[in-house]
Amino acid sequence: MKLKKNNIDEKQLKKRLTGSILTGIIFVAVVIFGFRAIRSSERIEDTPYALRHSFEWNQKIWAKISSSKNLSVKKPRPKKGTAPRQNGDIGLQSLADSKNYSVEVISGNKSFKLPIAAFHAADKVDYSTDFRCIEGWSEEMSYAGMRFSDFMKFYDIGKKPDGSYYAYVGLETPDKEYYVSIDMESMLHPQTVLAYEMNEAPLSLANGAPLRLMIPVKYGIKNLKRIGKIFFSDTRPRDYWAERGYDWYAGF
């Protein structure tokens, strides 16, 4: 708003300017000090305290204002047999013995090993949608396998004696070099699948044969390749990239 003022004393103006400049200096100091304080504060899983908490708050706020029931939007199916983009080979160093491969499952007192055939025998579900990497790229991919919620129902796992779900699902590669943990809500999402096919071809070793997790409501880092172990827990199991400074939730 433009306000004209007459008969202003020059001294008064000087004083005002000095005051404003001082405020400015304090402002700059606060910004620099604040930035440094956040940066050098105690680190939780390789992220400064405030920023790690901000990750968690963002997730809580988002859960309040949005519905987690949405599906990741359907995309045209890539040409059959197209090699899906592959990124990262942590946990894939040991060779998978496909003949005797089995997945270890632990839920409460239950503990058993499942051969890959068990997953093939189940109802097959099939989706085609965006696969999004936290680095920033995305690619349309189709995948097929056993829906994770079907898997839980079929083997009657994932629930505690009182009938409520465990809060987290943990997954690990056979060599335990790569591991993720995911909230139960995202694991129960209909598009979350224990996949043995991508782009209508059997999984390649680089893409996690013989069985991998496909969870399009999460960044690629959560889509663990070559599942060696699936387990349920109420305390958050370790997570490879969360330990290295990334948002644990990493979901859309």
Binding site: L3, S66, S72, C133, I134
Partner: protein, 207 residues
């Protein structure tokens, strides 16, 4: 001495706070962009010098923290504009578009006279400042679309999909950088009396 009260306190505060938040958003955004430099490659010597390499996690953590500051400060600014009636200083009129061209020509020394000012900003300023507010809005919307492409899938689709929204978000960032460059040049050109108004609020009309 005659002065005009050009920029109110709240306007100056939100302006300078925005300088900080926008800078941090651009900085952390570039850290994120470097991890998948899909549109153009930042030359290695530059990236190394500015230490932009392998900082995706750090970029994400700052981006999703500072975004709140950027948003809230923007809302305070917007609320002030609306409730104080100050928006009238920015709102373009029919003649503003033509005048903005004339002002630009004048600034580029291609025209002798500048069109008369209506209010505290000239026509080119009005358009630039309205534009930058719209850009901030666009950044937030495209940002949400790539932040939550499933729960906000309808928005992502509306913007042309995930990849398109990411490109739009990036273009807006480039737009901010260009705006800031021109803005700083213009402030230097306009001189101390004008710049002081953004520090202390007043402009001296007549000694």
């Amino acid at each position: 001495m005659i002065i005009t009260e050009k920029h109110s306190r709240i306007l100056r505060y939100t302006h300078w706070i925005n300088v900080v938040f926008l800078s941090l958003m651009v900085w952390s955004g570039i850290l994120i962009y470097w991890a998948n430099d899909a549109y153009f490659k930042i030359p290695d010597p530059i990236a190394e010098k500015l230490s932009l390499q392998y900082k995706l996690a750090e970029g994400l953590s700052w981006h999703f923290f500072i975004m709140w500051g950027f948003l809230i400060n923007g809302l305070v600014y917007l609320a002030y504009q609306i409730f104080s009636g100050e928006w009238r200083e920015l709102a373009p009129r029919l003649g503003t578009f033509k005048d903005a061209v004339l002002v630009t020509l004048h600034d580029l020394h291609l025209r002798k006279s500048a069109p008369p000012m209506h209010g505290k900003f000239n026509a080119a300023q009005k358009l630039a400042y309205c534009g930058v507010i719209l850009m901030a809005f666009g950044s937030i919307v495209t940002g949400i679309a790539i932040y939550k492409p499933v729960t906000m899938g309808w928005l992502t689709a509306l913007l042309g999909g995930y990849e398109a929204a990411r490109l739009e978000h990036f273009i807006l960032m480039i737009g901010f950088i260009l705006f800031v460059i021109v803005h700083i040049l213009q402030v230097i050109k306009a001189g101390w009396n004008n710049f002081r108004a953004m520090i202390a609020g007043y402009e001296i009309e007549k000694k």
